[in-house]
Subunit: 336 residues, 2 copies
Amino acid sequence: MNAEHLVDVIRGDNVESEHWGHIAVVNSEGKLLYSKGNPNRVTFARSSMKPLQAIPIVETGAADHYQFNQADLSLACASHNGENQHTDRVKTILSRLGLGTDDLKCGTHPPRWTEAYEALIIAGKEITPEYNNCSGKHSGMLTTAIHMGESLEDYYKTDHPVQKRIMEVISDISETPLNEIEIGIDGCGVPVHGIPLKNLALSFAKMAKPISFPEKRKNAIEQVTAAMMAAPEMVGGTNRFCSDFMRIEDGRMFGKAGAEGVYCIGDLETGLGIAIKIEDGNGRATSPVAVEVLKQLDLLNEKQIKLLHDYHYPKLKNARQEVVGQLSPIFSLKNA
Amino acid sequence: MNAEHLVDVIRGDNVESEHWGHIAVVNSEGKLLYSKGNPNRVTFARSSMKPLQAIPIVETGAADHYQFNQADLSLACASHNGENQHTDRVKTILSRLGLGTDDLKCGTHPPRWTEAYEALIIAGKEITPEYNNCSGKHSGMLTTAIHMGESLEDYYKTDHPVQKRIMEVISDISETPLNEIEIGIDGCGVPVHGIPLKNLALSFAKMAKPISFPEKRKNAIEQVTAAMMAAPEMVGGTNRFCSDFMRIEDGRMFGKAGAEGVYCIGDLETGLGIAIKIEDGNGRATSPVAVEVLKQLDLLNEKQIKLLHDYHYPKLKNARQEVVGQLSPIFSLKNA
């Protein structure tokens, strides 16, 4: 799909592997400022869409009614580690709804956070849905459904009002007609949305500078992005790029990873939106590309670049914990 | 590196990601018969080199002296799951040497086999080196070192006789001058070897049909490849492509995966060698490419292709265990 060479994987003195991909940098008026590869590539946003998927929780009044604080709303945008700080909060949200973790339809997978996984095994407990990295999003969907008096057992299906409301939000913010949004099924069972990469970047630009929206939507967007930046530990967790990146950004930028090599960032100060897709789907290449784009756009200062060094140039270590290589971004953004 | 498009990752009706890469098909006289991408791409063979790395165990007489059976020799070529069948055998080999698992210098990582990992955690045991997928190879290296009266604590270093012996074997079989072999450090601390992809294919072709070698080397090669095919469960383990592929091959072909998207096959009947490198390093694309190459070369019958279907077109499942997509090979081999 006309990808360009973005990252080298270096072992010893040799390039062992290469990651190619696509970048779109767009302003909030929809002007494509910089690109690599094909900015029109139709891309499943996967979990990078979660900040948009969280907007109806606020817009419907569900967030207010069920007393969502910033950490709750941030968790609704999360692909979390399954640490206690995440799973405890999911259970708290569900208990406010009068629901339990069995009501989550996201399925189960072992928690990403090894300590949480090992604690479950030692306790002889089965892996329950709150450990799914998407359980915050699903809790948010349940919150909206219960607040609107909608059915709860099928909230994950494409034709449920919860999902239709999300589709309308995505169509509006990304400026993509409803019938042009490609639909697949995500790792957690809900619809995923495929739109051109530049429209994904535009979504983040417009969320960063939501001046074109009616007051209610503008307010909901601002609440979501403020929540992510105020409680970045909810969005990913310990040693996760999303969390560490937003922790050092001082409330200026919000970023969200998506499976299969997607990363999106919105910058409140410039109103820029950035969308990245690694063509081969490997998430290891996203943080080097993201930090490099921010560096080239002069959106990070020296100190921040230094703090993000291990995400910018991730080390390859072997089982003896020796450094045997690293990932290196190798591209220059060109004007679109 | 002039890769070509080999595999689509499909979600719903859309291509979500693409894998590009390189293929070389060579006969045992070194003629490049088919290729995709760049057959001259210098490629770290990683664990695909293990069958060659096992040859000195036989050639030095160590295998005979320490009573290696076919399963032991196959395990020396393994990237195993860390199942009991693997770790018990590693410990048995080491006990014959009068050594223990602490003598393995491969470092540790959690066993790939979930049951083994969970059993360790429940027992409160630390992860010891025999669970490293390379512990069979390291046991083989120790066997050679002890048999030759060489030092044991540094057998993994590039200038140790064990590694120099392996370098000579690789140079000979791959027809690559010693000073042209690129060296890096592998995930388990020993040298990895970078050679052009077509030389990697040639190595497997010449191992499949080792007629050009002196009797001693020919015999060692035949013992190694026969061992892999006689005890394929040692090479990977349960639900692993290498093992399942060799299990249905009836002693005709041997195959070995390497990290960062490498796969190599030798066919005893035709003397063909096949080497595959996925440019982005993602191992998920290797089995679709390998099975498709074998199908296009007419090296598999209908029944075998059917048995390998889930490796040829791997399904993508979500956390709800629903099938949401699949990988599909999309290339046609062309004459080189």
